[in-house]
């Protein structure tokens, strides 16, 4: 157990309230919670990469950051009028 693993664990636990908002709130609030969850997930992957010594997880974090941006924009575009 090192400081990186503890950090990753705390960040994982912090996703629980975000998941609650995603489940229970209004649609636009859910999109905001999804955006926050995506940011936290990217941080978790970076921290886990350091904790486990696996450099490949940095690439996954970068990909997640880019794709969650594109996905979020797609969500909000559709939720303006069509969903």
């Amino acid at each position: 157990m090192n400081v990186w693993l503890v950090t990753a664990a705390v960040l994982l636990v912090s996703l629980i309230p975000v998941g609650w908002v995603c489940l229970r709130a209004e649609p636009m609030d859910r999109v905001v919670a999804l955006q926050l969850a995506s940011n936290i997930d990217a941080l978790i992957l970076v921290v886990l990469s350091e904790a486990l010594g696996r450099d490949a997880l940095f690439d996954v974090a970068l990909l997640l950051a880019l794709l969650s941006f594109a996905g979020g924009l797609t969500f909000v575009r559709f939720m303006e009028r069509w969903v």
Partner: protein, 104 residues
């Protein structure tokens, strides 16, 4: 150096916890959007700084900085798009309404 890494990770965790708590407590989508800020700006920079402090500017450090830059750059854009979509969904338009313009 270990102390610096711990301090930076504590800062990152604190920013995320504050963001999550604020977003969960707020009831309005416009208020909730503001709390995404610390988790998308302070936390990634602090984590990237912690990685660089530990690994130096090698491949791992550069990738961590890149992740922080991408998250910090894209999050405000997405937040603005979300606010715009929320307004259009609520009012039917992005432009100011007559009441907001103060037209007689």
């Amino acid at each position: 150096m270990n102390v610096l890494v711990v301090v930076l990770l504590v800062v990152a965790v604190a920013a995320v916890v504050i963001s999550v708590a604020g977003m969960a407590v707020m009831t309005n989508v416009y208020d909730r959007m503001h709390y995404v800020g610390p988790a998308s700006m302070i936390a990634p920079v602090a984590v990237a700084a912690a990685v660089v402090a530990r690994e130096g500017l090698g491949p791992a450090g550069i990738k961590a900085v890149l992740v922080a830059v991408v998250v910090a750059a894209t999050s405000p854009v997405l937040t603005h798009a979300t606010g715009r979509a929320a307004r259009i969904r609520e009012l039917g338009q992005w432009a100011p309404t007559d009441d907001e313009r103060g037209d007689a």
